[in-house]
Symmetry: C2
Subunit: 324 residues, 2 copies
C-alpha cells in the first residue's frame, strides 16, 4: 500500500447511502489515490485535496453543501447519474471545473421501464393484481396499444430510447424538446401534442425552464383517458396538481418513478392517489447497473489522466449534455 | 317482423353468459332468421332447425351436450374464439359440418398482453404495486429485457404475433410448432429451447398432442430464473405441477390467463402460488373486440350465403386452422 503521492491524482468518492462503493475502482491502483467521503462534513474536509470528485451517491445534496467557496477544488466532477440538477449550483456552474454524467447507461433500461408502465396501464395489470389478491375473477376489456399516441418530453438519449421503444410497440410518438428541429417539436407544440396524447412521458432534465412544467394547466389540456409517466426528476411535476388531476379524473392514470422528496414521505398523498403507480426511483437500475457506472467512470478517468477530451461533458449553462 | 321463412337460412346463436349478444347481426335482417339459445336445453330444441350455428358463448360445453346424434344439424358452425377445443367432440369432427373460428381478431391484443406480462415480470411491477399499498420505498434492481431469450410454443397467428412483438423488444425468440419447417422448430427441439429460455410462452391449440405438455418434467428443464406464460388453453398446463414448480423455485414466476376450470375456483392454489399472476381469460379482449367478432361473423355469412368458400376453416382432424 502506498501513501499520498504528489504525482498521482486524488479521486474523492462521495459514497451512496446505504454504503455501496463503486465497483471497478480497483483498476486505478497505482494510477490514483482514492479517498471516500460519506457525507457533506467528510466531503468538506477532503475536497481541497481532490483532483477528481466522483459523485456516486447522486441523490444527496452534499456536494452543494460542501463545495469550497474559494481555493482548491476538483478540476473534474463526474456524477453516476443522467440528471445533473443537484450539481447546478452557482459556485460549480461558475467554476472552471468540468462536469460529466452517466449518459448512456440508463437509456435502454428506462425505455423498457416506460414500455412496461404503458403496457401495464393499458392492460389494467394493477387492477388484475388487486383482484387476484381477493380471489376475484373479473373479466375486463383492456386497451389496444398499437395505434395509440405518445408525447415524449426530453430529447436526450433517454427520451430518444423511449421513443424508439414505444414506436416498436406500434405507438405513434412525438418528441418535444427545448427547441424545434428535425424530428423534434419545440415547446410551442407541447400543449397541442399533449391534448391528443394517450401517453405523456416526461424524461426531461430538471432546469429552471422545466421545473414544474407538468402542472394543473398541463394536466387540464390532456384527454380524460390519458396517462402521464415521469421518469425524469420529481420537481418537473407539481405533485399536488397531479393528485388533484387524478382525483378529478382529468386524466385516467399516472406513474411516477421520481419525486420531489425521495424517499417519498410516508404521509404523501401520492401513495394512494387513484390510478397512480409509485415506484422508488428504479426505472434505470437493471442488474449490473452499478458495474456499468463504475466501468464508465474508469473509462473517463483513462481519458482524463492522458489529457484526452472527456465524453458526456455537461453544458453547465444549460444543465445537460448537449445532443449530437 | 317476419316469421319463419323457408327461403331464408336460420342462424342460431348460442349466447354468452352473462347475456352479451353479438353486435352487427342486425345487418342480417331480411337475409337470415336469427334465433337465440342460452344453454344446452334451448340449443337442443333449436339445433335441428338451424342452418348455421354461431357459438358466441364459446366458454360453454353446451354444443357438445346438445349436438344432434343424427338427423338435421347445422351445415356451418362458427365460434367467436381462436381455440376450437370445446367443439372437437367426435360427432362434430365426424360430421360434414364446416367449422370456422375467429382467427385474426385476437392476435395483436394477445401479443401485446404477453409483452405486458414479460415487461411487468422483468421490471418486478407486481412487487412494486404491493410495496406501494404498504407505503414502502424499496429500491430493487430489475431485469434488462433486450437480449433475453423467449421460446414461444404455437405457430398460429397468435404465436406469430407474439414472436413479432417480443422481437420488437429486443428479445431473441424461437418458435416451436407441431413440425419443424422454415423459421419453426419441431417438438424435438422444445426441451433444449426451454432450457435456455428466459420466457416460455404457450399459445398452442389444445389438442390430444398438446394437452398437459407443460408438466413437472418440462418445468424441471427450465432455468430457475425463467418465467412461464400461458395464453393458450388451461389444460395445456398441469396446474398442480406448475404450483409445485413455483413453490420449489424451479422457475422464478409465471402468468396464466387461462385455466382448466374457468372461472378459477375460489379454493384453487393458483390464486396464491408464489410469483404467479392470475388473470381472468382476458388477454385478447381489447375494447371493441365483441364488435370485431360480430363483424367477422357477418363477413363470413356474406360468403356463405353466396356460396363462396369460407375463411378460417378448421381442420377438424388437427383441431386448428392450418397455417399458410
Amino acid at each position: 500500500m502506498s501513501g499520498p503521492d504528489a504525482r498521482r491524482p486524488t479521486v474523492l468518492v462521495l459514497d451512496a447511502a446505504p454504503p455501496a462503493p463503486p465497483p471497478r475502482l480497483g483498476v486505478l491502483t497505482g494510477r490514483a489515490r482514492v479517498l471516500h467521503a460519506k457525507d457533506a462534513t467528510e466531503l468538506r474536509d477532503q475536497l481541497p485535496y481532490a483532483d477528481v470528485l466522483l459523485v456516486w451517491g447522486f441523490l444527496s445534496d452534499a456536494v452543494r453543501e460542501a463545495w469550497p467557496g474559494r481555493g482548491a477544488r476538483p478540476v473534474w466532477v463526474h456524477t453516476a447519474s443522467a440528471g445533473v440538477d443537484r450539481l447546478m449550483f452557482p459556485e460549480l456552474v461558475a467554476s472552471d471545473t468540468e462536469l460529466t454524467n452517466a449518459r448512456g447507461v440508463f437509456d435502454q433500461p428506462i425505455a423498457e421501464y416506460v414500455a412496461a408502465l404503458v403496457l401495464a396501464m393499458g392492460k389494467d395489470l394493477p387492477a388484475t393484481i388487486g383482484y387476484q389478491a381477493n380471489r376475484e375473477w373479473r373479466h375486463r376489456e383492456t386497451q389496444r396499444i398499437a395505434g395509440t399516441r405518445a408525447c415524449v418530453v426530453g430529447t436526450g438519449p433517454i427520451g430518444q430510447a423511449i421513443v424508439k421503444q414505444l414506436k416498436a410497440l406500434g405507438i405513434t410518438t412525438a418528441l418535444v424538446g427545448r427547441r424545434a428541429r428535425a424530428g423534434v417539436h419545440g415547446p410551442a407544440d407541447l400543449d397541442r401534442l399533449l391534448a391528443r396524447a394517450d401517453w405523456a412521458v416526461c424524461a426531461a432534465p430538471l432546469t429552471d425552464e422545466t421545473r414544474g412544467m407538468f402542472d394543473a394547466r398541463r394536466f387540464g389540456v390532456m384527454q380524460p383517458s390519458a396517462r402521464f409517466i415521469n421518469v425524469g426528476r420529481g420537481p418537473l411535476v407539481v405533485e399536488s396538481d397531479l393528485v388533484d388531476a387524478l382525483r378529478k379524473r382529468w386524466i385516467a392514470g399516472a406513474a411516477l418513478d421520481v419525486f420531489e422528496h425521495e424517499p417519498l414521505p410516508d404521509d404523501s398523498p401520492l401513495w394512494t392517489a387513484p390510478g397512480l403507480i409509485v415506484s422508488p426511483h428504479m426505472s434505470g437500475d437493471t442488474v449490473g447497473w452499478r458495474d456499468e457506472l463504475g466501468r464508465q467512470f474508469v473509462e473517463l478517468f483513462g481519458r482524463w489522466e492522458n489529457g484526452r477530451p472527456l465524453m458526456n461533458v455537461v453544458d453547465k449553462k444549460r444543465g445537460y449534455v448537449p445532443g449530437s
